[in-house]
């Protein structure tokens, strides 16, 4: 067993066929160690979610090589390979079936993957994310946004994955709820020894959770920065700095003379 959990070499991902083929990710290479949290940051359309989709097995139209947990991954995966990484999506209002109870939502992955002790596993997953056990009888509309995101995390954890792929897990939530979910993700990572890949557009969120961050633009990496570099403000690429300023708020531009900038 090596220290590397995910190794991606020269990954390129595209959508469409024939003349309308669109290459969204271009020649991306990175490694993520076991227990590490790797961030992907960039603006909409830069390909960050597409990288995640290829790693999760949602998009099979990729070239290059992906190794997960010392196994080379092909375009088609076995069911145990698929269980190894699970996704958490951005919008907890859209990613959970509105007419299924939470219990049924959590049972579904267990049925697909043919796991036993289903009731115990559902209870453990709810306990892991800090939800009361009787929530399994509730419907999503009876839950708040933060509680739903906890359900989405429980659904990802129920297959005991080694990797969680987090696609903007807190951007639909209020700041106070975001803090709860980020703390929960931190606790789970330390307790279950999970490896995370976190996609976000907010560098402050990424710097809070991640050890290293790749900054993406137009389907490629412009820079891979460490957390220390972000916090000490010693990043190399100007685009990274633009994103850092963005997470701090509004920066007044050159104003007309006579008006003082705050």
């Amino acid at each position: 067993m090596t220290m590397t959990m995910i190794k991606v070499d020269h990954l390129a991902v595209s959508y469409g066929h024939g003349d309308s083929i669109l290459r969204v990710v271009n020649d991306v290479s990175f490694e993520v160690a076991r227990g590490e949290t790797f961030g992907l940051v960039g603006e909409s359309g830069c390909g960050k979610s597409t990288v995640l989709g290829a790693l999760a097995g949602r998009n099979r139209q990729w070239t290059g090589s992906i190794r997960i947990d010392d196994e080379t991954i092909g375009q088609k995966r076995s069911i145990s390979q698929l269980a190894k990484q699970q996704m958490v999506f951005q919008d907890p209002f859209g990613s959970i079936h509105p007419r299924h109870t939470i219990g049924r939502t959590l049972l579904e992955p267990l049925e697909i993957h043919g796991k036993d002790n289903r009731q115990e596993r559902v209870e453990k997953a709810l306990k892991d994310v800090g939800l009361p056990l009787n929530f399994r009888y509730r419907f999503p509309h009876q839950l708040s946004g933060g509680q739903r995101q906890r359900v989405a995390i429980a659904r990802a954890l129920i297959l005991e994955p080694r990797i969680l792929l987090l696609d903007e897990p807190t951007s639909a939530l209020d700041v106070s709820i975001q803090a709860e979910i980020l703390n929960l993700l931190k606790d789970l990572r330390d307790r279950e020894k999970l490896t995370y890949i976190l996609v976000s557009h907010d560098l402050a969120v990424v710097a809070h959770l991640c050890d290293r961050v790749a900054i993406m633009q137009n389907g490629g990496f412009v820079e891979v920065a460490t957390k220390a570099q972000l916090l000490a403000d010693t990043v190399a690429h100007p685009y990274t700095r633009v994103l850092m300023d963005g997470s701090r708020g509004y920066v007044a531009s050159q104003r007309p003379v006579g008006v003082t900038a705050p």
Partner: protein, 282 residues
């Protein structure tokens, strides 16, 4: 500024109630504030009533809603008693509103130029030709490089950032004295957000307007606005100058500040907001 600070808008003890089958829901309770020629932020979490405040000022609340206030004065107009016909000449001309997502707030079957020109034609009864000239000048003012081409585009043909600049030009073309911006940049990327905000900032300064900036993003309001009103569960818990935000007194404001992950003040665990039922009294 040269003029002494005067209030454009005064709100005293405003409440907005929605009667429902299971009783009256009070979305906004006893809110008082005033806006001069400045940028005022309203901060709050979802459901805190911040958008309802904006809509009540514009008189755009749904018909069943009940707005009560001791005073709701916009310049020389009493917004509580003014008849709807007169409101038509206020809305869009003297108070205008910028909404979150231009994709949903622009008319999809009209070119953007026609939509902007419509505002001037409606409110100032100018000729189509003059309206077109004014529209092109306004588009140029919001840093759109090729106004002639953009004039003939449909909303689905423009990007999010350009759409929001079109919204801003539409709201400012009639020279209002108060703008209510309801989450104007939440749907935009950071670099685009920066451009849109600096255009809005310049226009507000240049035309000496009042701006109500409704947002959930504390960092953004703090760096953009002069004052901030913090709302919680339909109430104003604190009004404070953004420069003094670090000395905020109310535990809710402090909780919000501490819950934010920050590049400048990293911490191992984020503080989780403890909601105190006592905040709901008064």
């Amino acid at each position: 500024m040269l003029k002494p600070p005067e209030n454009i808008l005064t709100v005293q003890n405003m409440s907005v109630e929605f009667p429902t089958l299971s009783g009256v829901v009070t979305a906004v309770r006893n809110v008082s504030f005033s806006v001069g020629r400045e940028k005022v932020g309203i901060i709050g979490e979802s459901g805190s009533g911040k958008s309802t405040v904006g809509r009540a000022i514009m008189r755009l609340q749904p018909p069943q809603a009940v707005v009560k206030a001791d005073r709701l004065q916009f310049e020389d107009i009493n917004l509580l008693t003014v008849p709807e016909e007169q409101m038509l000449s206020v809305r869009g001309r003297r108070i205008s509103m910028i909404l979150q997502d231009p994709k949903y707030s622009l008319n999809p079957v009209m070119t953007v130029g026609e939509q902007i020109a419509e505002t001037v034609i409606l409110h100032e009864r100018v000729s189509r030709k003059e309206a077109r000239q004014r529209t092109l000048a306004m588009l140029e003012r919001v840093n759109i490089r090729d106004p002639q081409r953009v004039f003939g585009l449909y909303p689905h043909e423009v990007s999010g950032g350009m759409g929001q600049r079109i919204m801003i030009s539409m709201m400012l073309i009639a020279s209002p004295s108060l703008i209510i911006a309801d989450e104007p940049t939440s749907a935009l990327d950071v670099t685009v957000r920066q451009q849109v905000l600096s255009i809005l900032d310049d226009l507000v300064t240049e035309r000496n307007l009042g701006l109500i900036f409704i947002s959930h993003d504390l960092n953004l309001v703090r760096s953009f606005c002069d004052r901030v009103i913090i709302m919680y569960a339909g109430r104003v818990v604190e009004t404070i100058a953004t420069a003094d935000l670090d000395d905020a007194q109310h535990p809710y404001t402090r909780g919000l500040l501490n819950a934010l992950p920050s590049l400048d003040h990293p911490r191992d665990r984020l503080e989780v907001l403890r909601r105190d039922p006592a905040w709901l009294e008064n």
